[in-house]
């Protein structure tokens, strides 16, 4: 056993972090929120170049093979830098199509996987089943090139995004995309493939939530070291220290669950990781908001980009309640 990232994995994470740190991601996220997808797609292409979207595409379809651990590293970085767009959904769509191919239905995979892997195609998807992990809206369907809808044992490619529904996070644009358009596949293998795709979506969302929590903690630590009230930096107050210590504990005990879930792809372990990362990210948001005070409650401070993402990510692709039930089901 060696429960440590190897040098290559650490280097991959560092590279992504550097790439995103230099990309003014807050500006990209703000543009995306306004409906301007151009900077987002430029960034998407660079992420694809770094290999992010190949991590869930088999090599025969121009991918890197299925690399769930690297995926968690990438999505922690995406969360940490508040990258907008249907990244989780693109990964889940890739898994869905790759799984269909494994089950003999290779046409949609051939048509789409190379495009998704190289970043020229963005995908989103929506599903009503399985009920416990239902994803009622297709994220960023307006920006996506491929809109998948799973309805029972049918897989549709929707021609239209459908009605928009506002999210608390304006960088997350939700759509009630309807199950109509082109029928890509039908039969029990759709449900089997979808289940695998959901597992990857849950894993990637957990990683993203963890990255969001980490960014919130880092920004708050920086703020309380500078902000002065009553003549001292507020970071000297014990109540502030203890609250941030609790956030660090939550984040640091969530990450090993995430990596273990990536190693095993066991549904119970994925559910555990989602609970821990989702709750830690949201706890970080609550602390960040409280300790920033009023300025943290404004949309103009970049902190809002992470604050508004934390709770939707906690609930997306498996609410804590659904994931706890999965853990108890064994």
């Amino acid at each position: 056993m060696r429960f440590l990232l190897d040098a290559e994995q650490r280097e991959f994470a560092r590279t992504l972090d550097a790439l995103l740190g230099a990309a003014d991601t807050p500006a990209v996220a703000r543009a995306w929120s306004r409906g301007d997808h151009t900077p987002g797609r430029v960034l998407w292409a660079r992420l694809a170049e770094a290999g992010v979207f190949a991590l869930a595409v088999p090599e025969e379809f121009d991918g890197a093979g299925l690399l769930p651990l690297e995926l968690t590293l990438a999505f922690e970085a995406l969360g940490r830098h508040a990258v907008p767009g249907p990244a989780v959904e693109t990964i889940a769509s890739s898994l869905l199509l790759a799984s269909l191919a494994e089950l003999g239905d290779v046409v949609p995979a051939k048509a789409w996987l190379p495009r998704l892997a190289c970043g020229t195609g963005l995908a989103t998807l929506r599903a009503d089943a399985p009920a416990a992990l239902r994803a009622p809206y297709a994220l960023d369907a307006d920006a996506a090139d491929l809109r998948l809808v799973v309805a029972g044992d049918q897989l549709w490619r929707a021609a239209e995004a459908g009605a928009a529904v506002a999210s608390h996070d304006p960088a997350r644009r939700l759509f009630a995309t309807a199950a109509r358009g082109e029928l890509l596949a039908a039969g029990p293998h759709v449900a089997a493939a979808a289940e695998r795709a959901w597992a990857w979506a849950t894993l990637a969302t957990a990683a993203q939530a963890l990255g969001v929590g980490r960014a919130l903690l880092e920004r708050t630590v920086g703020y309380v070291r500078e902000r002065r009230q009553f003549g001292v930096a507020i970071g000297t107050f014990q109540a502030v220290k203890h609250r941030l210590a609790d956030v660090l504990i939550a984040l640091e005990f969530a990450r090993p669950l995430l990596h273990a879930a990536a190693l095993s792809l066991d549904p119970v372990e994925i559910a555990m990781a989602k609970v821990a990362c989702g709750e830690a990210g949201w706890a970080a948001a609550r602390a960040a908001l409280q300790l920033h005070g009023a300025v943290g409650y404004t949309e103009e401070l970049d902190l809002s980009l992470w604050l508004r993402k934390a709770r939707p990510l906690r609930d997306a692709w498996g609410t804590p309640a659904a994931c706890r039930a999965r853990v108890l089901a064994g």
Binding site: H168, D169, R228, Q229, Q238, A239, Y297, T298, R324
Partner: protein, 379 residues
């Protein structure tokens, strides 16, 4: 000891309930933090005022009904139970008006209160400054003496309602450099459209301009708009702060209505067992808050002052409000993300509760030091 209201109070309740049943808009008004919603809420204030329901606890000559505190609590219960709109005049009614009653002149009251009661003049509060959030004594905006009044300069922030309001009130330093920072402050009212005032709306988390930054550059305020004596502002303001944290900022009626809504939603969600404990605690907490307030109101009616126990109040309701909304969102599952959901706007609002009107960290310090007698000094 008894919990039954007097028959006269119950008939007041019945009158309020009947009026509200006839007048409360069937559909919720647009958010009061938007221009359109602000106007709609202002119209609602006028409708309330037309039948003297906007400021029930004020004397009749200013538009009220002279309701005592029990009647006020009962009115609030009925108001929120009826699902009536939020109060756009809240800053004026709950913060400025009590100050005018305690420290204003009769001229000021006669001039300012009736248009406030009718929603014609909406007031913003202007307490905080960029470097003075919880540490209010460190205010730096200045009031400089001039002929017949004062010239205000400086910067205020987190001024709620200021994006669309007419006027504002706050503290300004008229005598800088005194040994104690809460000395030398003056309480003034000013016009948000006066020359020298720049209002920069600030979007809160959901983007709505719920507050604003105010830039003041030699804004003239006549002497008649000073409340209390110059230099006495801290003392004048503190009586308002007590009100803000105490009985008037969050009436129990709000939480009773919210807890009932939550319980109804839980019923509709097949009584989801994962949220059951929290629904029970919401019902228990709303009742506890109501009873705690009744006890305080009874003491107040018996002649006691509202003291530092208002800090207990502030921490309780603000954390209760968040817990209630978290339970409600969890009942919605992934739909909790919808910004147009049934709890969305009040959830965003609840998140500010532990921050404003004195952060909960400050309140706990006050509780520990003033109510439990623990030593001051460190934090």
């Amino acid at each position: 000891m008894d919990l039954a209201h007097d028959p006269a109070v119950e008939s007041f309740r019945a009158e309020a309930r009947a009026w509200l049943a006839d007048h409360v808009p069937a559909a919720p008004l647009p958010s009061l933090e938007t221009r359109e919603g602000f106007a709609a809420h202002r119209a609602w204030e006028a409708e309330l005022a037309a039948d003297r329901w906007s400021v029930v606890s004020w004397p009749e000559r200013y538009g009220g009904r002279g309701a005592d505190i029990m009647r006020w609590l009962v009115f609030e219960e009925e108001y929120y139970a009826a699902g009536a709109p939020g109060r756009v005049s809240q800053n004026g009614i709950n913060l400025l008006a009590p100050t005018l009653f305690d420290h204003g002149t009769e001229e000021q009251r006669a001039r300012i209160l009736p248009p406030m009661a009718r929603g014609e003049v909406i007031w913003a509060q202007a307490w905080s400054e960029p470097e003075s959030g919880s540490d209010l004594a460190s205010l730096r905006s200045r009031a400089v003496r001039t002929d017949g009044g004062w010239l205000l300069s400086g910067q205020k922030t987190w001024s709620s309602r200021a994006a669309f309001a007419e006027r504002a009130f706050g503290l300004f330093r008229n005598e800088p450099g005194l040994a104690k920072p809460h000395l030398g402050l003056t309480y003034l009212m000013f016009d948000l459209h006066a020359p020298g005032v720049t209002v920069r709306p600030i979007g809160r988390l959901d983007g709505k301009p719920a507050f604003a930054e105010l830039f003041l550059d030699e804004v003239f305020v006549p002497d008649e708009d000073v409340i209390g004596a110059p230099g006495e502002g801290w003392r004048v303001a503190m009586s308002t702060a007590g009100n803000e944290r105490g009985l008037t900022l969050r009436s129990p009626g709000r939480f009773l209505a919210a807890a009932r809504r939550l319980a109804a939603q839980w019923d509709a969600c097949d009584r989801d067992p994962a949220v059951a404990d929290r629904v029970a605690d919401a019902l228990i907490g709303a009742r506890a808050y109501q009873l705690f307030t009744y006890a305080g109101a009874s003491r107040f009616a018996a002649g006691d002052a509202i003291g530092p126990e208002s800090s207990l109040n502030k921490v309780f309701w603000s954390e209760y409000d968040i817990a209630l909304h978290e339970a409600a969102l969890d009942l919605l599952g992934p739909d909790a993300e919808r910004a147009d959901g049934p709890w969305a706007e009040s959830w965003v609002f609840s998140l500010a509760g532990p921050i404003y009107a004195g952060t909960n960290e400050i309140q706990r310090d006050i509780i520990a030091e003033r109510l439990l007698g623990l030593p001051k000094g460190r934090r």
